[in-house]
């Protein structure tokens, strides 16, 4: 009898695509949950919403949201989204993708979109590795962490994503973990209402792959790590927010006002046309 009852958020999901492909204890489902919760609370016009994702476990998120969605090639969701947003600024374009997709293969697009301040919103699930391909080292893999491609421990320094985003010029930068569901939801709402390029990093458990290699075999263990290590410090210096086993600084880091690229562009276009009109008459 219970199964007949509909989940209050079910209407935002593509029934045909459910159940999602994500493992038990994976945080991607929580991110999706918070995202649809946010659009529900904002009563967003789904017709004006476009969700774009790249390649990786979380890349499937776009397909699960019952709205306009596009699943691009690896690393290119930001570039694709840029085209969408410029072609139709009315659309609210959100990217939900992973740390590898956005910051390794797609890193260049990220920093340039942030620099340009194009009005697209990026939600990054950071699970510290390439989950879908079986757990290889990635741009956020912690030093000394074990992955299939760092069997002797990782010797590359990971990106501090919030610092990178802030330095690149994002107008909104926040980091939460999948344990901070309320904050994450509120933060996503804020993100969706910001002008310009906004970014939220969501530290997310990957127990089946990353956890397995690093002594956190269950989602619960990883979530408990988040609980113990995370400290909310709003508007602290993102440069000092590197993620370590002992300390995960979460909170909002940047929230500034800056005219978006598309707005400037369309203002220019209007200006130019006025001039032309004046010349004609």
């Amino acid at each position: 009898m219970e199964t007949e009852i509909v989940h209050p958020l079910a209407k935002y999901l593509r029934e045909a695509m459910m159940p999602h492909i994500w493992c038990s204890g994976c945080g991607n489902g929580i991110i999706l949950n918070c995202f649809v919760q946010a659009i529900d609370e904002l009563k967003m016009d789904l017709n004006k919403l476009v969700v774009v994702s790249g390649i990786g476990c979380i890349g499937r998120a776009a397909g699960y949201v019952n709205t306009n969605s596009f699943h691009t090639t690896h690393g290119r969701p930001i570039a694709f989204a840029t085209g969408v947003k410029l072609a139709n600024p009315e659309l609210e374009v959100v990217i939900i993708s992973g740390d590898g997709d956005l910051f390794a293969i797609g890193g260049n697009h990220f920093i340039h979109a942030a620099r340009r301040n194009i009005g697209i919103k990026v939600i990054c699930a950071n699970n510290f590795n390439y989950g879908m391909t079986g757990g290889q080292q990635g741009p956020t893999t912690p030093i000394e962490a074990l992955t299939t491609t760092t069997p002797y421990g990782n010797i590359e320094h990971p990106f501090n994503l919030v610092h990178l985003a802030a330095a690149s010029g994002a107008t909104y930068v926040a980091r939460w973990t999948t344990l901070h569901v309320r904050k994450l939801t509120q933060s996503i709402k804020k993100l969706l209402q910001k002008e310009g390029f906004g970014f939220i990093e969501v530290v997310s458990p990957c127990p089946e792959i990353f956890g397995r290699y690093n002594k956190m075999r269950t989602g619960l263990e990883m979530m408990e790590w988040f609980r113990k290590a995370s400290m909310v410090e709003n508007f602290s210096d993102p440069a000092k927010a590197e993620i370590t086993p002992e300390r995960i600084v979460v909170g909002e880091f940047v929230d500034i006002a800056k005219v978006s690229y598309e707005k400037l562009l369309h203002e220019k276009i209007a200006e130019i046309n006025e001039k032309k009109m004046a010349m004609v008459s």
Partner: protein, 383 residues
């Protein structure tokens, strides 16, 4: 602003890149994303100036990968979009050309060919990307490529490329070369009414009933765009009519990939255009395209003056390849001469279609295109 005044109606003296840009505008292109590269840069520069004037978008991306991705995005947002590049950039675009094929995103890619491989000779012409245009992205697919041989054609075929791309929801490539791109000639731009414009088929069913990849009889699915009230999903993964991933279904794979090829193959006759000169009684037929075809034409004329029955077949559409036309002339001609600015690319297709008829290949690399004399020599040798 009124449709008039959008385009520069009348006769002009301009170079091929500019003509191409004006052709795009005439075709209704309102989005250009690109990255500077010789010899295609003037297209970007010109559109950077013109797009704002007509309410279109010009954006310079961080690289060619981003450019093509943005173009596909714009296309899905319902705007005709184009990017322009040359060999190196064209290589970077290949993966996402595949994405455009897979998601059936109408868009135009201009490749103003230069000497390769790699950085090669940026300021000299080449015809070395012909095969890449067809096979450059991984996986099986069909695609449309047009080869202009004059500045006027840079204008006309850009419009044609958009029309075909919109009609068949497939990326269309304008395979120009450095000479056509940089050459200054007279271009006649007709009034907007006289220009034939094709637009993609719009979704014509209620949103609930809409399946984004359910084809009509012509194998082309009507296209809804973001914000038009149709909530749909598109993906680079193999997918069903609803756009839902089907990563392990062989049936879905066959169905999809076959259709993507067939929608071009089965419509090839409607797509293909060639120019035929003095073929009726020709013993020797020169098959040439792009700038080379111009030298070939005068060579053929000179040959006739010297009493040789020569003719010219100029494929305007390189892909799908005008196989039947070659086959037809092969039956009557003793020999076929194929001059190309590469080590032999389209000539392979000609040989395949020509069957027993001997095909002489005339290669030229790294300098000006073939001269009429060189081609005439080849005609003489083969008659």
């Amino acid at each position: 602003m009124s449709k008039k005044g959008l385009i520069l109606e009348g006769s002009h003296f301009m170079n091929g890149d500019i003509a191409c840009a004006e052709g795009a505008i005439a075709a209704g292109c309102r989005f250009f994303a690109g990255y500077p590269i010789t010899p295609a840069t003037e297209i970007a520069e010109h559109l950077a100036q013109r797009m704002p004037e007509i309410g279109g978008i010009y954006v310079q991306m961080e690289d060619e990968i981003a450019s093509i991705a943005a173009v596909i995005g714009a296309s899905y947002a319902g705007v005709k979009a184009m990017t322009a590049t040359s060999g190196p950039g064209f290589s970077l675009m290949q993966e996402n050309i595949g994405l455009a094929v897979m998601t059936e995103a109408p868009c135009v890619i201009v490749d103003v060919m230069r000497g390769g491989p790699s950085t090669g000779q940026p300021t000299l012409p080449g015809q070395q990307d012909v095969m890449q245009a067809k096979w450059g992205s991984h996986g099986d697919y069909e695609i449309i490529a047009l080869a202009p041989s004059s500045v006027q054609e840079m204008f006309d075929l850009t419009i044609e490329a958009f029309n075909l791309s919109e009609t068949y929801r497939v990326p269309a490539i304008l395979l120009a070369d450095e000479v056509v791109g940089h050459m200054w000639e007279k271009v006649v731009i007709p009034s907007i009414e006289k220009i034939k414009i094709m637009n993609r088929k719009k979704a014509n069913v209620p949103p609930k009933a809409y399946a984004p990849f359910m084809p009509d009889d012509d194998l082309v699915p009507p296209m809804a765009c973001f914000g038009e009230g149709y909530s749909f999903h598109a993906t680079g993964l193999t997918h069903d009519e609803h756009g839902y991933p089907q990563t392990s279904s062989s049936e879905a794979q066959q169905k999809l990939v076959k259709r993507l090829c067939d929608k071009i193959r089965k419509n090839a006759d409607k797509i293909i255009r060639v120019e035929e000169v003095m073929l009726d009684d020709a013993d020797v037929v020169v098959v040439a395209y792009g700038i080379v075809a111009r030298a070939a034409l005068s060579a053929v004329r000179k040959a006739r003056e010297n009493g040789i029955k020569a003719g010219l077949l100029r494929p305007i559409t390189l892909w799908p390849f005008p196989e039947s036309y070659v086959a037809k002339i092969a039956k009557q001609a003793k020999a076929i001469v194929v001059p190309e600015m590469n080590c032999g690319q389209l000539v392979r297709e000609v040989e395949r279609a020509a069957k027993e008829t001997p095909v002489a290949f005339l290669s030229k690399l790294g300098e000006e295109p073939h001269t009429p004399m060189e081609i005439l020599e080849a005609i003489r040798r083969n008659c």
